[in-house]
C-alpha cells in the first residue's frame, strides 16, 4: 500500500462538484450529509464512463460491451468488499439501498424464523430498521423486543442481557445513530448476543461513510449501507452477510439472473450473490459506488476524522452558548459521529432550517425517521447538522451565526 496523502480539507472539498462549483455561485454550507452526502467526482466519472463506453446488461451477454459491463460490475463488488474488509466478494450483495437491504434480510432470514422467536431492535433505530421487523413480526408471529437508550442517546447496553432470551435469533442495531451520532460498542453487543446464540446485524448507513471497515473482525453477521450517503449514486446499496448464512437463506425477489433453471414444475436458485439480485441490477450505480468506495478507501481517515471531530466540537461548543439549546446525544466527542441533533426552546426545527437556508446552510429538521426516539426524548422533532470530510470551518461559522440570528429574530 502506498502511504496516504495527509488529509487536506480544501482539496477534499474540491472533489465534490456541487460544493466546488455551487449552483448560483454562492458558497454552499451543506450540513445534511447524514440524509444524502454529496457525490464525489470520481463516482460521476465512473458512471459517465460506463454509460458512454461500456453500457450493456450484465446478465449473460457474450459481446464486448456486455463483457466490459460485467467486468466493471464485478470490480465494483470487489471494491466494496475491500472497503468492508471482506475477503469473499460474493458475500457482497447489491440492493437498492439500506432500506432494501434490511427488507431483504427481514424476508429471507426472517423466513427461517419460527413463531415466538425474537428479534431485538432499539429505540435508537431509523424507521428502516424498525418497520421491516414489525412487518415480519406480523407475518410470522415473531416477537420484537426493544432496547432502550440512555439519557445521552446511546444504546443502553447495560440492559442488553435482560432483553435477550434464548429465543432471540437476531440483534438488529444501528452502528451509528442518524440522530444522536452515537457509535455503538460493537464488541459488547456481539459478545452479549453470542451468549444467547443470536446473530448480529448492524445498520451501517451512517457509519459506512466514515471510513473503511473490517466487518469480519467486528464479529458481526450482517451489515447494510447506502451508496448515496457514501458519496456515491442513489439507487444502490449493499447487504453483506457471512457466506454460510446467506447460502442458507431463500431468495427475496424472483426474476431473471437469480435462477439456475426455471420451469413450471419448479425452479432452482443460483448461488450467492446472484440469488439475491433478481433482475437487471443497478449496474451504473454499483459501478459509481465502486468508484466512491475506492475514493473513500484512499482517504487519510485519521486526518479526516480529526477534522470532523474538530468541527463537531465547534458546533457542540457553539450550541452550548445558545440560550435554550439542548443537544440530543452524547456531550463529548468520544465514540460519536459528526451528527448533531438539537432543539432550541421556542424555535421550531423547520423554522430554524428555513432561516438557515437563507444563509445557504443546509440542515434537516423533523423526526429524522426516528419517531420512537423522538418520543423517548419527548420532542416532536429536532434540527440536525451533520458533518462530512468536505465540510469546513466556514460551514460551521455560517451555521453558528445563522443560529444566533434565528434566535434573535424568531425566538
Amino acid at each position: 500500500m502506498t502511504p496516504k496523502k495527509p488529509f487536506d480539507p480544501a482539496a477534499c472539498r474540491e472533489e465534490f462538484p456541487l460544493l466546488a462549483d455551487p449552483p448560483g455561485g454562492k458558497p454552499m454550507h451543506y450540513l445534511d450529509s447524514a440524509a444524502t452526502a454529496q457525490t464525489v467526482a470520481a463516482a460521476l466519472r465512473a458512471v459517465r464512463r460506463h454509460e458512454t463506453m461500456t453500457r450493456a446488461n450484465v446478465l449473460r451477454g457474450v459481446h464486448f460491451l456486455a463483457e466490459a459491463a460485467t467486468d466493471a460490475y464485478d470490480q465494483a463488488r470487489r471494491a466494496v468488499a475491500r472497503y468492508l474488509g471482506v475477503a469473499d466478494a460474493e458475500e457482497v450483495i447489491f440492493t437498492g439501498g439500506t432500506t432494501g437491504s434490511i427488507n431483504l434480510l427481514a424476508h429471507s432470514f426472517g423466513s427461517l424464523l419460527a413463531e415466538g422467536d425474537e428479534i431485538l431492535v432499539s429505540e435508537l433505530e431509523h424507521h428502516s430498521n424498525i418497520v421491516p421487523w414489525q412487518m415480519l413480526a406480523e407475518r410470522r408471529g415473531v416477537r420484537l423486543r426493544v432496547l432502550p437508550v440512555t439519557e445521552d442517546g446511546r444504546l443502553d447496553l447495560d440492559r442488553l442481557p435482560a432483553h435477550l432470551s434464548a429465543r432471540c435469533k437476531l440483534v438488529a442495531l444501528t452502528h451509528a445513530s442518524n440522530v444522536t451520532g452515537a457509535i455503538a460498542d460493537v464488541g459488547r453487543i456481539v459478545e452479549t448476543a453470542r451468549a444467547v446464540g443470536a446473530r448480529v446485524f448492524l445498520d451501517g448507513a451512517q457509519r459506512a461513510p466514515q471510513g473503511p471497515l473490517d466487518l469480519p473482525a467486528l464479529g458481526i453477521d450482517f451489515y447494510a449501507f447506502s451508496s448515496h450517503k457514501l458519496y456515491g449514486p442513489t439507487g444502490v446499496g449493499v447487504l453483506w452477510g457471512r457466506r454460510p448464512l446467506l447460502e442458507a437463506m431463500p431468495p427475496f425477489m424472483g426474476g431473471g439472473g437469480m435462477i439456475e433453471q426455471v420451469s413450471f414444475a419448479g425452479t432452482r436458485y443460483a448461488g450467492i450473490p446472484r440469488r439475491f439480485e433478481a433482475g437487471t441490477p443497478p449496474i451504473a450505480e454499483a459501478i459509481g459506488l465502486g468508484a466512491a468506495v475506492g475514493w473513500a478507501g484512499g482517504l487519510d481517515w485519521a486526518g479526516a476524522t480529526a477534522h470532523e471531530a474538530r468541527l463537531t466540537g465547534r458546533i457542540l461548543d457553539g450550541l452550548a452558548g445558545i440560550r435554550g439549546a439542548k443537544v440530543i446525544g452524547p456531550a463529548g466527542l468520544q465514540n460519536r459521529l459528526g451528527v448533531i441533533a438539537f432543539t432550541i426552546d421556542g424555535l421550531h426545527p423547520h423554522d430554524v432550517c428555513q432561516w438557515l437556508d437563507r444563509r445557504n446552510v443546509a440542515l434537516r429538521g423533523g423526526h429524522h425517521c426516528a419517531q420512537p426516539l423522538m418520543e423517548r426524548f419527548g420532542v416532536a422533532g429536532t434540527t440536525r447538522a451533520s458533518i462530512a470530510p468536505y465540510n469546513s470551518d466556514a460551514d460551521v461559522d455560517a451555521l453558528l451565526a445563522g443560529l444566533d440570528e434565528a434566535v434573535a429574530r424568531l425566538a
Binding site: P349, H350, D351, Q354, G366
Partner: protein
Amino acid sequence: MSDELYHRKLVARARGAVGKGKLDAPDGRATIDNPLCGDRVTMEVKLADGRLAAVAHQTRGCLLCEAAAALIGAEAAGERLSDIDAAVAAAKSVVEGAPAPAGCWSALEEFGPVRTAKSRRDCVLLPFRALAEAIAAARGTTG
C-alpha cells in the same frame, strides 16, 4: 410585502397567538397532524345562524402554522360560513402565489413568500384545514 418569509409582522402574529384556548361546549372540533414535522392543530368552533359564532385553537407548530392559526383567531369569528369557505380557498391560492383577497382576509398576504418554500405551504394550511373540518363536524357532515 417583502419576499422575506419571516418578516416582523408574521413573527409577531405567531407570538401573539390570538385565539389560543378552548371553547366551552364547542359545536365542532377537529385535530390535524402534519406527520412530516409533528405539528398539530386543534380547532374548536361554535356556529350560529350560518355564521362562525366563536373559534379557539390549540396549536403546536412552526411559526407559519402558529401565525396562520392566530390569523384565524383574529378574523374568523363572526364571519359567514360561506366567507370562511372562501377564506380557506384563498389561503390555498395565496401560498401558491396568488394575491391575497381584499377585505378582512387581506392579511393572508403575510403568507405570500411561502410560495417559494414549497415544503412549508402545508404549515400555513394546516390550521385552515382544521378549521374547515371543525365546521364540517359541527354541521354533522364529514365534508
